[in-house]
């Protein structure tokens, strides 16, 4: 199911996302980037393994931690970074920054700065697909925190009743901002909530590319066959704080280091590819080097891009013929 070409694509996207996020961190600490920035480092396997199975005709709705989804859904690093820096060349003309980033032309219905805000929108993508009788799917990415929002309940219930081709992908990174899941959530496994909507719920190791890929493939097949949505919970961990300024009083340095050392999704997938002889070490080194090079070029592009012209600040509030 997971062929060699797809493996290399996933590895490439994971490396690009890692480079992007760690570069964004550095730029933030150097005051070259401002605002609310939520990094996806450590969670790369989910976006890459899911989006590997999507085309531009499939939709995603993303979250405030949306850079990874945006890149995996086809955004280029340079224009994405330009958007984070508010430049005119950014995907959203500098209006969105980190929290509303999207390349709409790639079927990305947007990062969403409101926790749980994207679930109904992804559900609407699924409704459009169903009404247009297309063999596509719509994916709602959301975190553990969003699973306690009303929109989680409303969207999954509606998608289940209408048997919409929507896959609800929960990225459980253990903390809703600073609050651990055990303190905020009635269940240990958010996937258990699927029972309340009469749909399958599945827990997977979100740092295991193969596990995420295969679980999503099952959910996608079900969706395309008209059987309705699936709730997929990917257990993962964010390496950085909730946002770039997070003092992280809610977890220990040791906890973070343990995840980094023992459960780095990129290292794990690299080991898998080498063990299964799906790629040579040199090939993977080359992918990593290419990602680093692309990122360096992206920084150059973004830093040297023009600021948006305030003369156009009122454009696009409405579509005008």
């Amino acid at each position: 199911m997971l062929d060699k070409k797809t493996c290399l694509w996933i590895y490439t996207k994971m490396c690009e996302i890692r480079e992007f996020e760690e570069t964004a961190w550095t730029l933030f600490t150097e005051n070259k980037l401002r605002g609310s920035v939520h990094l996806y480092t450590g969670e790369e396997a989910v976006a890459a393994a899911v989006c590997a199975q999507l085309s531009n005709e499939d939709y995603i709705a993303s979250t405030h931690r949306g850079h990874g989804h945006c890149i995996a859904k086809g955004a280029q690093l340079d224009r994405a970074l330009a958007e984070l820096m508010g430049k005119a060349t950014g995907y959203c003309k500098g209006r969105s920054g980190s929290m509303h980033i999207a390349d709409f032309s790639k079927g990305n219905l947007g990062a969403n700065a409101i926790v749980g805000g994207g679930l109904p929108i992804a559900t609407g993508g699924g409704l459009a697909i169903k009404m247009q009788k297309r063999p596509n799917v719509s994916v709602a990415f959301f975190g553990d925190g969003a699973s306690n929002q009303g929109t989680f309940h409303e969207s999954i219930n509606l998608a289940s009743v209408w048997k919409l081709p929507v896959i609800f992908v929960c990225e459980n990174n253990q903390y809703g901002m600073t609050v651990p899941v055990w303190q905020s959530t009635s269940v240990t496994d958010i996937a258990d909530r699927a029972a309340g909507y009469n749909i399958p719920g599945e827990v997977v190791d979100g740092n295991d590319v193969v596990a995420v890929f295969e679980a999503f493939a099952r959910a996608k097949e079900r969706a395309v066959n008209g059987e309705g949505p699936t709730l997929l919970e990917c257990k993962t961990y964010r390496w950085r704080g909730h946002w770039t300024g997070d003092p992280e009083p809610y977890r220990t340095r040791e906890e973070v280091e343990e995840w980094k050392e023992k459960n780095d999704p990129i290292q794990r997938f690299r080991n898998y590819l080498l063990e299964e002889k799906l790629a040579a070490k040199e090939k993977l080194d080359d992918i990593e080097a290419q990602a680093a090079k692309q990122m360096a070029e992206a920084v150059d592009f973004a830093l040297n891009s023009p600021e948006p012209d305030p003369a156009h600040v009122l454009d696009d509030v409405f579509y005008e013929v």
């Binding site: 969105s96 559900t123 579509y319």
Partner: protein, 326 residues
Amino acid sequence: MAKLSYAQAIRKTIAEEMKRDENVFIMGEDVEKLGGVYGCTRDLYKEFGTDRVRNTPISESAIIGTALGAACCGMRPIAELMYWDFAFVAADQIFNQVAKTRYVFGGNAKIPLVIRGQEGTGRGNAATHSQSLESIFMHIPGIKVVCPSTPADAAGLLRTAIRDDNPVCFFEHKVLYAGKGEVPDDPNYMIPFGKADIKREGSDVTIVANLLYVKHALAAADELLKEGIHAEVIDPRTLVPFDYDTIARSVKKTGRLVVVHEAHQNNGWGAQVITQVTKMVFPYLDAAPIHLGAQACPLPFNVILEQAVLPSIPEIISACKAVMHR
């Protein structure tokens, strides 16, 4: 021309647009067999099927958010809110998502979405089912705001809303549904947004009103005429975009302005109109404009109490006389 009720005009327009464009569909609470509380979608499911006339769960955030997502992906949804008061349940989806999606994503999203529903007092629905909320929607950039006061306006404005590639919030008044009027038969009859309608011409005082208060303003104008005062009654019809020019032109002629609406007076849309029009025609004003609206109090159930909170026809008459220094 056919004589139709306001509700029938809305139903007819929806049906014609669904026939014209297969991407147009309806979703909302009880829109199928019941046809909505006031019958605006009655029996449409028989003609178009339940795929295009979709009963939803009582989940306002999902109704609006799903309609938004579908609109971004090539459909043209008409999402019905049973009462505009329920918009607060879906406030994030309307104000943070629907209104902002096109702008924040760099103008790359097209959102042909109509959110329609009814509002207002008059049927004993009390505090959470009787509000007039259009001023709030006017405050958030990114949504068009439409308020028809007659069956013909309802038909012409709704068609424009459905064919618009932007989110439109369409405010109907529950008391207007049964009222009848002539509606053009033309299945392409459209009224452009941002064009106020002079409902009655006059030379002495300009009364600006919307929805049910257009009727009340016209009733006040009848009374004023008995005293020799010729009131001009203007219905802006759309609050976003707003036709300040037509009102400014009228005030240049009359020198006097009264704005009245059922929405609360405090921060009601009339305040914005008075600010703008005063700026435009200040030298022509013979008196400070007067702004009437519901008092700052949740709308009470008892009809005597409800009426006590709302501007009355005698109050409109008094306001007109006051600006005429009479």
